[in-house]
């Protein structure tokens, strides 16, 4: 099987200018501006096989978007090599662009002022998609994403969720073998997220489309991706399955309780449970927090034990955030995290 993406020692540096203070500093800035060279992506290596679905994650500023922009030919790398679909994205841009689809959650890929279907029609010509292929393929996409009623509206009149679904459809007009999604679910409500996840899985199954997506939502990854690449400060600190990432670094789950009656911490601590549970009280929010290992049916056991002893006002199960996982990896050492693919 061929590789969709091959990245070797890839690096991107940005010059960040800083201004000196005071009037004298302003004059000196005119002559020579002070700057720092910041490596946003720091000599990374990875390959993605055709048909893989990879989550590219990390904290804000880790370098995810910068990597995607190099993979899509928007930015020229400072050094290192990129082969995507067997091409150098920046050198052969026009030919290369036909073989990928791109969605940026924060920025529209569609023309703002024209109706969605006009955008589609124009893109169909831009990508030279034959009529039969377009009709069959797009009819399916429009139906799955449920965007039929939106087609005659201009993009600027759509809500974020509606726009995102149209962006996704637009990125797939030419049925590319490789799809890049940079935070496609940011700011969307749960129903739209679920629809988008299902859709991505569908096209992957139907066309063996390779998908690389960035997200802050672990549920996106859980639903869609079989592999996680984690980036921190421009370096890859984890590359492997989601399950082992969670087993090793997302071991703790937080469950928040609020009660209708007076409850003391010691009462909770003495609940009869078969596994280790530590309790905390958050005075500000009057919330009791239980920390448990996420194993078998721990969560339901804990909740049923609590419910049978006290009257509950509210329960909240917190998904471990990506930020938290990064923190855990640091606490336990990076060296154990990076594993070969």
């Amino acid at each position: 099987m061929s590789n969709a993406i091959e990245v070797k020692q890839l690096r991107k540096e940005f010059k960040v200018f800083s201004s000196r203070s005071g009037l004298k500093g302003a004059f000196r800035d005119l002559l020579t501006r002070k700057y720092k060279v910041v490596p946003a992506v720091n000599d990374i290596n990875f390959t993605v096989k055709q048909g893989e679905m990879v989550a590219y994650i990390g904290e804000n500023g880790a370098g995810k978007s910068t990597t995607i922009k190099m993979l899509t030919g928007i930015l020229t790398p400072t050094s290192g090599s990129v082969r995507v679909n067997g091409m150098d994205p920046h050198r052969e841009r026009e030919k290369f662009a036909r073989t990928i689809g791109v969605v940026f959650g924060q920025r529209s890929q569609l023309w703002w002022d024209i109706a969605v279907q006009e955008s589609f029609r124009l893109l169909k010509k831009v990508y030279k998609v034959p009529d039969e292929q377009y009709n069959e393929h797009m009819a399916h996409i429009i139906e799955t994403l449920d965007i039929g009623p939106l087609l005659d509206k201009p993009v600027r009149k759509l809500s974020l969720g509606q726009r995102m679904r149209c962006e996704l459809a637009a990125a797939l007009i030419h049925n590319p073998p490789l799809l890049f999604l940079d935070e496609p679910t940011i700011g969307l409500d749960v129903l739209v997220k679920v629809k988008i996840r299902q859709f991505l899985k569908d096209i992957n199954q139907k066309y063996n489309t390779t998908i690389l997506l960035t997200t802050h939502d672990l549920a996106d990854i859980e639903a869609v991706c079989d592999r996680v690449v984690m980036l921190d400060e421009g370096k890859i600190i984890y590359d492997g399955g989601l399950q082992s990432l969670k087993n090793n670094w997302a071991e703790e789950k937080e469950i928040h309780f609020q009660f209708l009656e007076e409850v003391r911490l010691s009462q909770l601590e003495s609940l009869p449970l078969l596994f280790e549970t530590s309790w905390d009280y958050d005075e500000k929010n009057q919330t009791f927090i239980a920390y448990i290992k996420e194993e078998s049916d721990n969560i339901s056991q804990l909740i049923s034990a609590v419910v049978s002893h006290f009257k509950i006002k509210d329960v909240n199960i917190l998904e471990t955030s990506i930020e938290e996982i990064v923190r855990n990896i640091y606490e336990q050492g990076i060296s154990t995290a990076v594993r070969g693919v």
Binding site: T72, I74, T76, I100, K125, V126
Partner: protein
Amino acid sequence: MFYVSMFFQYMGQYMKTRLQYRADLVVEILSDLLNQAVNLVFILVVFGHTQLLAGWSKDEIIFIYGFFLVPYAIFSSFFNIWDFNDRYIVKGEMDRILTRPIHSLFQIILERIELESLFGAVTGLIVIFYAGSSIGLEIAWYDPILFIVFAIGGALAYGAIFIAIASIGFWSDAKNSIMPMMYNIGNYGRYPVDIYNKVIRFVLTWILPFAFVGVYPAAYFLGKKEWYAFSFATPIIGLIFFMIAVVIWNQGVKRYRGAGN
């Protein structure tokens, strides 16, 4: 061939969008026409007081001005990139452009087409015919062809200058005020260059070739033999400068940094 077909696709889309807002379109056309009428009166009044300038008669100067308006109108319709830096670099629209399978500059030209500006060419033609008939110019059968070739050459030279200046945005993120300045300098091409000193003449010919948008090509139609070499160089200069501008642009694209956060 693909690029020609894309040109018509985008034009079609542009027309459709325009026609959708029919009321706006009518108002806009009327205001454009009014604008051009005011322009016309202004030209005739201002130049009405001009005497002989460095051997050019009043009508000849009006003729040059009229000619200038034609390539300028073509330029304004197709090289509407004065806000390139804000729109495409600062706002990051360039990201979208760069992921599409069409040359980036061509895409931006297509997206920013503004055909209304072509009304300026109508004013130009009126001025040309007015001045031409007062001078008593004859029209040979090949003159219309040369006129079109020279007008396009001039528009290319004009476009090249602005593409090169827009490309500065790829290198420097400082707000540049060169663009408006260039619009002013562009006006110098509307007048006979021999009224300026040598340095300015050199600059307007070989560095910022604005003279090829007005006086040089117009000189041919006025029968000024001493300028013919420059007149016929117009399309060549236009093409050469345009190619240089595209090379600068392509180098710039490699430096594109994206909008950041």
